[in-house]
Symmetry: D2
Subunit: 381 residues, 4 copies
Amino acid sequence: MTKKLTYGMVGGGKGSQIGTIHRKALNLHGKVELVAGSFSRNFKNTLITGRELKLDEKRLYNNYVEMAEKESKRNDKIDFVVIVTPNNSHYDIAKSFLENGINVMCEKPLTVTLNQALELQKLANKNNLLFAVSYAYTGYSMIRYARELVKSGKIGEVRFVNSQYISEWMAKVPFIGKVPRHEWRSDPDISGLSNCVADIGVHVENLISYVTNLKIHSLCARMDKFIEKDRLDDNASILVNYDNNSKGIYWTSQITIGHENNLNFGIYGTKGSIEWSQERANYLRLSTIDEPFKIISRGNDKVSDHIKDEYVAPGGHQEGYVEAFARIYDKFVDAIYKRKQGEILTPSDIDFPTVEDGVQGMRFVEKCLESSNQGGVWVNF
Amino acid sequence: MTKKLTYGMVGGGKGSQIGTIHRKALNLHGKVELVAGSFSRNFKNTLITGRELKLDEKRLYNNYVEMAEKESKRNDKIDFVVIVTPNNSHYDIAKSFLENGINVMCEKPLTVTLNQALELQKLANKNNLLFAVSYAYTGYSMIRYARELVKSGKIGEVRFVNSQYISEWMAKVPFIGKVPRHEWRSDPDISGLSNCVADIGVHVENLISYVTNLKIHSLCARMDKFIEKDRLDDNASILVNYDNNSKGIYWTSQITIGHENNLNFGIYGTKGSIEWSQERANYLRLSTIDEPFKIISRGNDKVSDHIKDEYVAPGGHQEGYVEAFARIYDKFVDAIYKRKQGEILTPSDIDFPTVEDGVQGMRFVEKCLESSNQGGVWVNF
Amino acid sequence: MTKKLTYGMVGGGKGSQIGTIHRKALNLHGKVELVAGSFSRNFKNTLITGRELKLDEKRLYNNYVEMAEKESKRNDKIDFVVIVTPNNSHYDIAKSFLENGINVMCEKPLTVTLNQALELQKLANKNNLLFAVSYAYTGYSMIRYARELVKSGKIGEVRFVNSQYISEWMAKVPFIGKVPRHEWRSDPDISGLSNCVADIGVHVENLISYVTNLKIHSLCARMDKFIEKDRLDDNASILVNYDNNSKGIYWTSQITIGHENNLNFGIYGTKGSIEWSQERANYLRLSTIDEPFKIISRGNDKVSDHIKDEYVAPGGHQEGYVEAFARIYDKFVDAIYKRKQGEILTPSDIDFPTVEDGVQGMRFVEKCLESSNQGGVWVNF
Amino acid sequence: MTKKLTYGMVGGGKGSQIGTIHRKALNLHGKVELVAGSFSRNFKNTLITGRELKLDEKRLYNNYVEMAEKESKRNDKIDFVVIVTPNNSHYDIAKSFLENGINVMCEKPLTVTLNQALELQKLANKNNLLFAVSYAYTGYSMIRYARELVKSGKIGEVRFVNSQYISEWMAKVPFIGKVPRHEWRSDPDISGLSNCVADIGVHVENLISYVTNLKIHSLCARMDKFIEKDRLDDNASILVNYDNNSKGIYWTSQITIGHENNLNFGIYGTKGSIEWSQERANYLRLSTIDEPFKIISRGNDKVSDHIKDEYVAPGGHQEGYVEAFARIYDKFVDAIYKRKQGEILTPSDIDFPTVEDGVQGMRFVEKCLESSNQGGVWVNF
Ligand SMILES: NC(=O)c1ccc[n+]([C@@H]2O[C@H](COP(=O)([O-])OP(=O)(O)OC[C@H]3O[C@@H](n4cnc5c(N)ncnc54)[C@H](O)[C@@H]3O)[C@@H](O)[C@H]2O)c1
Ligand SMILES: NC(=O)c1ccc[n+]([C@@H]2O[C@H](COP(=O)([O-])OP(=O)(O)OC[C@H]3O[C@@H](n4cnc5c(N)ncnc54)[C@H](O)[C@@H]3O)[C@@H](O)[C@H]2O)c1
Ligand SMILES: NC(=O)c1ccc[n+]([C@@H]2O[C@H](COP(=O)([O-])OP(=O)(O)OC[C@H]3O[C@@H](n4cnc5c(N)ncnc54)[C@H](O)[C@@H]3O)[C@@H](O)[C@H]2O)c1
Ligand SMILES: NC(=O)c1ccc[n+]([C@@H]2O[C@H](COP(=O)([O-])OP(=O)(O)OC[C@H]3O[C@@H](n4cnc5c(N)ncnc54)[C@H](O)[C@@H]3O)[C@@H](O)[C@H]2O)c1
């Protein structure tokens, strides 16, 4: 009976948002066990959270520094750490664990500056550690199939991309009669120099990069602050030019009342197009020049077998966000396991978003700011 | 550090369909651990499956009889067993575990005859054991909210119900170039006297009963066998009269090419209607007499807090089949845990489909057969 | 410069519902002119309506008997009459015009009894007159293409049909604060022995017959009267067996709050299926065994050229109800014109619903009543 | 018996695209009659077309100059002319008729330069003639209701607009095996300096202006030419700033395979949003801060009575493109009629797109070119 891999978590204390989803996503495939944590700045919260999760109290730490150091010295040290704290702390926390020889999964945006991100990238490489970034949407099976379709030439050369991540929560907050939990998102000291682009715009950048493999050549961004009390952008329109003369529009918003988390795209090539929306995550719309429009569902025979092999729910039933998230984790965990077994990883083992993707995200944020701050001029990427 | 509850599984061996989904659903909330199994009639398969799942080989059993007996004698015996074998074996297996004092989660259809189902019900009650049946669709948050809406009178008195579970796999099987794995479904020796009604028709019966609380008074069924080589029904149309003079149409099919697992309903009352489809499981369509049609999504403020508290993914992201399934299991596990702590269960603790629901399903199957075999006459329920 | 054909109308006076749509539909292609009318039982209304329509007052008649007789004696007599009065008067009015040698377009249900309908059929044939019935939905281009697809064998042999015409207006009437204009619909003296089946159920019967060419062999109907003050059926569920062993479910309702005029069908064959809904009238969903689901739109290249030649709006724009209606009229008008030119009509000229379809509709109503009145037994067609 | 108004047409000869739709739209309400035409540069085509339409051959003219002059001298001269020729001829033709005292309906883009458009505006005003431009989409009932909703404050202050007119025909043309009929569209000598923006981009500009009443303050446009053989833009992305600090993205394309004529918008305000798409032209999606998302259909009680009074098909049935077009014409015809009766027009009589809208369209085209030609800089409007 081989033992499961183990992990620790920084952030994700009682009352926080995303940490619990990481834990459920990690539970799903039953391959890893949470054994250590510093869930909050407040140790009491760490204790409460740890007890609810039935952890050994000895592995509940006062802070991440202590955690990184003490865990690194154990024989049964955690195989990786999950960082789910607000943006401004990602850099220091990730650095601590990398320096102590522990693999990292970190939330996006990776850091608050591009430089920090580049440093983490260097450090991870130097220490030969695996470093994933939780761009979870790339875990949907239909996203993976879309990537294959584009690569296969099914829609020809990509000409144009239209992609959006539009949501409403910032516009609704003052009206729902509850103190908004996430005030930090519009606080530059914690969030960094951008709210909307850094929070959800980077998902658009990563998703399109994943599906199309297009490289941004230059962009023109207009970042808006519509809500009075906001201190950072809550909406952004970005014209993008790619290296190969194809073009795109990205739009990201937290003020589009009527959309909860509408992440979507249309990719238009010389021979056809692919469209996807998170609200119908189990389906692709595929159109080609000479055929009727098609709806490809997860259950469809055309979907590649290796993608089907990764299904959690049988074709025809719906898979959701947690299944996508779990798929990303599954690849990450498999890679750690393989390396732990002494095997050498091949490129195809790195089938999850990495620190490089995190770096690209931060470059995207900085370039958008550079363009927007000058009134929406074109800047090279 | 309290220990997790433990469970065993009968069926679900390598190559089988539904067992793995039970395991993922049970993983999701991280409250239970699989520790024992008789995954197949073939002990080699049980061994392979058990090893992959990293179980202690001492708890991999030759057959369910041995498993029930040996587990019942352990101090750390499993808290419940999950039965995911073909229909004809449910009765004997469930009986063994009930007789050995072990709680049961059994797949639907509960048995192959109504009498068997009634016996299991009696036995579970006599031995004071919890007995759940995996009607997983009642675990969707929007189904739970639909039930509340109906109860609250939002749509008035229900007049009419239209519900379908239509699918295509039986019609596609011969064409997809693979030996159909589930031949047993049209083999009366294994499946029982019905295929389509017993396999998916019972989900319609259970779902509508759950959401509306309507009791069937009489029905008129036409069961069809469209596919030549089929030996049992692959399609059925059922007119239903309820106790309160409301009426319904149920339609269940395995030959509707174009539908993967389209479970859906419309419930029409004196003041409004509610509609839902599994393909858009995170949304309800609510129409009332004097307002525009509304789309209620999981993220919406109107959804009751206690339903929201059970969300896995944040409102706005999609939850899928496994999340619904996990919710059913979560309620079942909580009830077992509570009782294990010596507490007394209240009716609200039994928030999962039980052996009573399983019995109703078998009654439904038998009544449909009774009607259809006489050429589609009306029979009392 | 050839003259346009001319027509007269009975019914359709100021304040009535459907007459004005007939006039718009007849206007669309600009081939005919309204020149005579008896728009109401009340001659004052006929005068007002006639003046608004800028008719010559000499051709505004006290009643349809006078109109039929006087028009028949004119050199420039109307080429056809349109009958848009309530159901119970269709028979007498149609008879008058047929006896006076004038072609007829009559609203559905054709009459109030099957016998009346058969008489009209005989009379039209005897007098060699064209007699159309305004089953307007068969005029949608996508319905015409669906018929071709079925005929071509694209979906194989039809196994099952599910079709609905569900609406809400009877359930909403008492709540919208206006006296319902159409009380006559639930008055047996005017409507005949059925309201819902005769009013909209016949559209389902006709539409499915048109698209599939299936003949009903037997049926089992449950007709309901849910609304207290109703005197006739407002909802009906009908199981249908066709001659070739295929089966169907028809559901027609006036109490399904949330549906305005949701006429739809799914037709499931051995190789595929076709689905259509009036709310997306410009699209067909086509599924076949070995391909992804397809959405065929009016603009699609696969649609037959002769169907495209009849488009009013260019492919890609939407055509609505009036365009469908106009297409039916266009075929009827062309046939009258051709015959007037002394040419002999071929079967393909009769590309509109005829008195035979009207007869089938009445047979359907009577058979549903026969079945339902005996408690929902099977009756042969 | 008052006589109908009469009109003439320039362009719209046999084989042309849009002229026939104007004629059907004008037929629908039965208020006007086509009596004169110069349908083509080729008089033979004019004769053929005129005969098919059963016109008096004396009023079929060699060219529009002759037509304008001769018609203006008749006692029964046409009440208005419809101009449906390619873009570069609009100016001269419109000028001729205005100079001869005849009201004009002209296709968009109004002219090929802003200056020409301004001249026409001046001339129409000077000669006190009515001049409409066929921005037909503003004729949809749901567009009219959307405008009312915005005006009423239902969605608060508008913050952001996203609007698209995306289509595929330019990308499909070389593949559909037919000579593309509309080569002139990418010929600068006929089309003007823009193809895509001038052809369909102006519809976006006009529609948003109509619904929101927002004035463009500045814009940044990127116009693309993706198809090799194209000589003008076939795609454009336009960032828009409005006077009141609200912002927008317009995207117009002829290369988005998979979209036939997908004109759509989302308008996001401080309290809610409205969304509409031509493919579901009979519905609005209305979202507000504190309520579930709503689908407003034409049949809904909330729609204003004066909008309902203009329905062609009863609520619940679909109205299409021709009905929208006919509504625009109906307003235009009513205004001409009223003035002809000697009455004075009030602003509310001018309920159709006018030469002012045409001028705005040309300004939009020129500003987009100005921005794009400099590499996508911001230019004031
Ligand atoms: N991938 C996604 O789709 C997604 C979604 C939501 C959030 N996020 C990202 O996840 C991160 C967390 O967001 P959230 O919404 O969960 O925030 P949150 O405020 O809800 O939770 C943050 C948690 O971190 C803890 N914390 C803060 N500083 C800490 C420290 N130094 N040591 C230990 N714990 C500490 C807090 O006590 C809290 O429990 C952010 O970077 C956010 O951008 C990503
Ligand atoms: N709730 C649902 O939506 C749903 C979905 C699918 C299947 N099911 C039900 O689940 C059950 C299993 O279906 P399946 O599709 O997974 O079937 P399957 O044939 O794929 O798997 C059955 C498994 O049971 C094992 N088995 C058979 N007899 C056994 C025995 N005596 N002891 C131990 N193992 C034994 C087989 O070796 C196999 O591994 C059926 O009753 C079916 O109706 C329910
Ligand atoms: N095809 C369809 O989809 C459709 C839709 C609606 C109605 N209909 C049918 O159309 C018919 C009319 O329905 P409606 O809703 O317009 O009814 P309505 O009550 O609105 O109008 C009926 C009109 O007929 C006139 N009329 C009655 N008796 C007359 C007579 N003897 N002579 C002259 N005029 C007379 C009335 O004055 C009135 O103007 C019905 O048979 C109905 O079933 C069909
Ligand atoms: N409102 C819309 O949605 C819409 C849609 C399509 C076209 N249009 C506009 O309508 C106009 C016509 O487009 P189309 O697609 O119908 O073009 P088309 O090429 O199909 O037809 C143009 C017609 O004009 C005739 N013509 C050309 N010059 C003439 C002249 N001097 N005198 C008389 N007739 C002449 C041609 O013979 C032909 O019959 C264009 O300006 C176009 O932009 C608008």
